[in-house]
């Protein structure tokens, strides 16, 4: 592909301009990458593979390979004989979806104001949300629980969703504001020439154009909600309301002897996040690049 020749004017040295992803690179890099990947994946594979063993195999040799492979544990979880996998998967799903929708709608609206309006309080509002990164959820969680008891929301999905949205806003706004600010002024002017109102411009131009950023924060918030543990632990009290991480953990402490079943339940619980992530990996990394660069 690259026919460009870069020549140092002083030395006359020719630089081989290979595109970054083109060549094979040094073998040592592959070796190091392979080692890291092995360490990263080993525990995950342990969980998945050991879900195919039964308890006697586990007791006899905790570090062995399944022999024979026993699909029964997975079967029991999927068919609902043990735990409440589908119920809790559904809870995780709709809590995550509502969280994402609310965070995105509120986040885009606020970022739009911060990126495209000039007004006095703009800096203060941005600072308010930026400071939100310094308010850890673990600090707010006890009073949040008190607030939820007082409003009789404790135990409902809303008691998880609302704080999640509020705590998701700072990151969302910090990532989205630069995206919206980057939409060229000319597009806005052109829209006004065509008789678009400011809000019309928002819906017809800003929302579609900010999609890459929106997808990134949507994924980050989805995975965050899907994996969140402390908030459901505080707020939810009924097994049928648990989200998956809480459900799996409660199951594992209630049936601590059923190691194989715990592992099967655990691996089923992590698969959705893994699939979701592998589908959208590029967007996440792209979004992080944007966030780091500002």
């Amino acid at each position: 592909m690259s026919k460009v020749k870069v020549v140092n004017k002083q030395t006359g040295a020719v630089l081989k301009a290979t595109p970054k992803d083109g060549g094979w690179g040094h073998p040592a890099i592959y070796f190091i990458a392979l080692c890291i990947i092995a360490v990263c994946l080993a525990p995950v594979l342990y969980i998945i593979v050991n879900g195919f063993r039964d308890n006697s195999q586990m007791t006899l040799n905790p570090s062995g390979w399944p022999n024979p492979w026993v699909p029964g544990n997975y079967g029991a979880v999927v068919t609902g004989r043990i735990g409440m996998f589908w119920r809790q998967a559904w809870n995780s799903t709709y809590i995550a979806l509502i969280t994402v929708v609310l965070v995105i709608v509120l986040g885009v609206m606020t970022s739009f104001v911060l990126a495209r309006y000039k007004f006095k309080m703009r800096g203060a509002i941005y600072l308010l949300f930026a400071s939100g990164l310094m308010f850890p959820l673990s600090v707010a969680i006890t009073p949040l629980y008190i607030m939820m008891i007082k409003t009789h929301l404790a135990g409902s999905a809303l008691s998880v969703i609302l704080p999640q949205v509020a705590f998701g806003l700072p990151q969302t706004i910090i990532i989205l504001t630069p995206f919206l600010a980057a939409i060229p002024m000319e597009i806005e002017e052109a829209a006004f020439v065509d008789g678009c109102s400011r809000l019309g411009f928002f819906f017809r131009m800003v929302v579609p154009l900010s999609m890459p950023g929106v997808i990134t924060v949507a994924i980050l918030n989805f995975v965050g909600s899907w994996n969140s543990y402390m908030l459901p632990l505080y707020m939810l009290t009924d097994e049928s309301q648990y989200t998956l991480p809480l459900g799996v953990q409660m199951f594992s402490s209630a049936h601590s002897q059923e190691t194989a079943q715990i592992l099967a339940f655990t691996s089923l619980a992590m698969i959705p996040a893994l699939i979701f992530f592998s589908l959208f990996e590029k967007k996440i990394v792209g979004g992080l690049t944007g966030a780091v660069k500002g």
Binding site: F119, I146, N227, V292, K293
Partner: protein
């Protein structure tokens, strides 16, 4: 520049900056130019309120207000029901109980150790790996996906898996033929926790560093290579200094994460044994002695103390480490 003199009479200093300011006066604009009419301020403010209001309200209610609520309840002995009144007002007792509790200070110490070790262990490793992965190679995006896997899995699920693997009679000991109390031995447990944390969050650090590296123009390292710099010289003298803002942002995120570490400790070590194993953290201490033992007043007092400690650490970091170049990275859009 020769045309300026002839054009000056027709349109002095026409700038192609069609901002609102250029509306008034006798500025002659190109025929197709559109000047936005000065919009009604009331309407504009209304738009701002409608668009930003809900988010601000929600944020104040669920992020800021809890600190005030915690402050209020921290003065009461309150268990989650009934009124708060003179009968259960205990003044500073909850604070006294916490601040004189050696277990609390133990937890604070553990948070400090975790904070420092996370920076020292994950930082250099992540930078090194990112520098290597930034080279030309095949399958880079697959590698990126795979090293990110631990970060995507829920802490609760990681905790269960690690707990089962690392038990005294668990897979790791059997595999290595050892009898190490990875989780129960107080001398080992902190390092086990650090290993798990590194495993879990290294991928995130690497991706962040890679993102930072990809923002550095390739021409710089190519120019240095032409001038005869070796690979490591390029990394050390060019890439690393330019990566500084990213490293600082990562450091901030890592410190905040270390200060509020809860899930993994709670899932692996449970409600009771984290202290004896030497891995209790402030958030764990707060949950164990607050919500999970029904002492919400006490939990609120601990929350306030943790909040102040976190704020002090965050402010020290902001003041001493996050200087101007990072401010640019975080709030670049503020200026334009």
């Amino acid at each position: 520049m020769s045309e300026t003199s002839s054009a000056a009479t027709a349109a002095p200093e026409v700038e192609l900056d069609w901002s609102i300011e250029s509306e008034g006066g006798s500025v002659v604009l190109p025929p197709s130019a559109y000047v936005r009419p000065r919009r009604n301020h009331v309407r504009r403010n209304l738009e701002i309120i409608i668009l930003a209001g809900p988010a601000i309200l929600l944020f104040l209610m669920f992020v800021i207000a809890p600190v005030i609520v915690a402050l209020y309840y921290s003065f009461y002995k309150w268990k989650g029901f009934g009124p708060t009144n003179a009968d259960n007002f205990v003044g500073l007792d909850n604070y006294k109980w916490t601040l004189t509790n050696p277990e609390f200070w133990g937890a604070v110490g553990h948070n400090g150790i975790i904070m420092v070790l996370s920076l020292v262990m994950q930082g250099p490793l992540a930078i090194l790996v990112a520098l290597l992965l930034n080279q030309k190679m095949r399958g880079r995006s697959l590698i990126r996906v795979l090293i990110f896997v631990p970060y995507v899995i829920s802490e609760a699920i990681v905790g269960i898996g690690m707990f089962l693997m690392l038990q005294d009679e668990g897979a790791l000991n059997k595999l290595l033929g050892l009898h190490v109390g990875w989780l129960s031995n107080p001398k080992v447990a902190m390092w086990t926790l650090m290993f798990i944390l590194t495993w879990k969050y290294l991928g995130f650090a690497i991706i962040l560093m890679l993102a930072g590296l990809q923002g550095i123009p390739e021409e710089l390292s190519e120019a240095a290579a032409v001038d005869g710099a070796t690979f490591w010289q390029i990394q050390w003298h060019i890439m690393l200094p330019l990566l500084k803002p990213t490293i600082k942002v990562w450091g901030f995120l890592s410190i905040i994460g270390a200060m509020q570490l809860f899930d993994l400790v709670y899932v692996i070590w449970g409600q009771y044994i984290a202290t004896t194993a030497g891995v209790s953290t402030m958030a764990w201490f707060m949950a164990a002695n607050g919500r999970l033992s029904g002492q919400l007043g006490r939990g609120s007092a601990i929350a306030i103390i943790v909040f102040i400690l976190s704020l002090v650490v965050a402010m020290i970091y902001q003041r001493w480490v996050l200087n101007r170049d990072t401010e640019g990275a975080l709030t670049e859009k503020e200026e334009d």
